[in-house]
């Protein structure tokens, strides 16, 4: 099954970069989920939580504003500030 290449980049460093199944992110005009082969899409993000699902594993990140870019080569979030939530 096709995978989605997702990377989460903060100004200081790259927090996450791998192939995953699904990513949910908080857009300024509503939360959205991205699956593999999503149509090209760009939006700004508000403060909230990004959920990264790959198989059974789930990773959570808290971000503070930023920008999302879904393109043919994958999904990139440029977050102003981001931390991984350790559950």
């Amino acid at each position: 099954m096709a995978k989605l290449h997702f990377s989460l980049v903060a100004p200081e460093r790259e927090l996450f970069s791998a192939d995953v199944d699904q990513v949910d992110a908080p857009g300024t005009e509503g939360d959205f989920g991205v699956l593999p082969n999503h149509a090209p899409f760009m939006t700004t993000l508000r403060e909230g939580r990004v959920t990264v699902r790959d198989g059974a594993s789930v990773k959570l990140f808290d971000i503070q504003g930023g920008f999302a870019d879904v393109g043919p080569e994958g999904f990139t979030i440029l977050a102003e500030h981001a931390v991984e939530v350790v559950s």
């Binding site: 990377s7 100004p11 200081e12 300024t28 005009e29 149509a39 899409f41 939006t43 700004t44 870019d69």
Partner: protein
């Protein structure tokens, strides 16, 4: 000819200096590693942001383009941001940036343009205040920050945007030292406003039709100020790495020079000690013969 005691003192003082320069060199080397990693780690963000903006900018053109991208359409009033070090003892690090900036500033003044200057770093302020006086509109001291983050670059970007939005300036150029390698830092001028859009490679195949939420212009409007901050931050990070690299080299040279000096003094000291012993022997022998 200095007395033996004076020479001994001089040797021990040079030795003490050498210990300090050696320690500084090692500290700089350790910090260089860290700041190089930081500069490296910040690159993906800056690169992606730039490519996204390049992508967006080709779509948004003409009258709808935000002012940060389009500029004011004039070229009369310049703001020059000069960023270098807060501390010295790093060879010609700050001087080389300041020299490049001064050449640029003098050129602009000669063309009859209005130039304002913002200094980042204590040493820069000291070097530019004198020749340019009231042209220096603001200065920053970064020595208090242990780590360079966006919150350090933000106030600098704020000053720039405020001046720009007030309509006081047309073009903004940033001077910093690009970190090419440990032995090579290149003083570089980077135009911040109007934003320079990299001539991105033409999209392969049919250009992807993007959906924007909210509009293209609104996204660009929020991204451009952030890009400004990020560009300043990555310049500061490059500067930091360059500073430590150049401090390391400078201190390495100083340590080597101190070593040479110690060698020379020790040789001279031993020679005059030997000469004195010989002299004393001659005196004793001739004294004994006279009896």
């Amino acid at each position: 000819m200095a007395s033996l005691k004076e020479m001994r003192n001089r040797i021990s003082s040079v030795k003490a200096t050498q210990k300090i320069t050696k320690a500084m060199q090692m500290v700089a080397a350790a910090k260089l590693r860290r700041s190089q990693d930081a500069a490296e780690a910040a690159r993906p963000y800056a690169r992606r942001l730039a490519s996204v903006i390049a992508n967006l900018a080709t779509g948004v053109s003409g009258d709808g383009a935000p002012a940060l991208l389009a500029g004011t359409g004039r070229d009369d009033r310049h703001l020059v941001v000069v960023a270098a070090a807060d501390r010295g003892l790093a060879g010609g690090f700050t001087s080389s940036i300041v020299r490049a900036a001064r050449a640029h500033i003098d050129g602009l003044i000669a063309q009859g343009k209005d130039v304002k200057i913002v200094c980042v770093g204590k040493k820069v302020t000291a070097q530019l205040r004198r020749p340019y006086g009231e042209r220096v509109v603001d200065n920053f001291d970064l020595s208090a920050y242990r780590q360079l983050t966006l919150s350090v670059a933000q106030p600098i970007a704020d000053v720039v945007t405020k001046l720009y939005e007030a309509g006081d300036i047309d073009v903004v150029t940033l001077f910093y030292s690009r970190f090419k390698s440990v032995v090579q830092q290149i003083p570089t001028a980077l135009q911040l406003i109007p934003a320079v859009v990299e001539g991105g490679e033409p999209a392969s195949g049919p250009a992807a039709v993007y959906e924007y939420e909210p509009s293209e212009e609104a996204i660009l409007e929020t991204l451009l100020p952030r890009n400004l901050t990020v560009q300043i931050l990555s310049a500061l990070l490059d500067n930091m790495a360059g500073f430590y690299a150049s401090q390391m080299t400078a201190m390495d040279n100083a340590t080597r020079n101190a070593g040479d000096m110690i060698k020379r003094y020790t040789l001279e000291y031993n020679r005059s000690r030997q000469a004195q012993i010989t002299k004393e022997l001659i005196e004793i022998i001739s004294g004994a013969e006279a009896v």
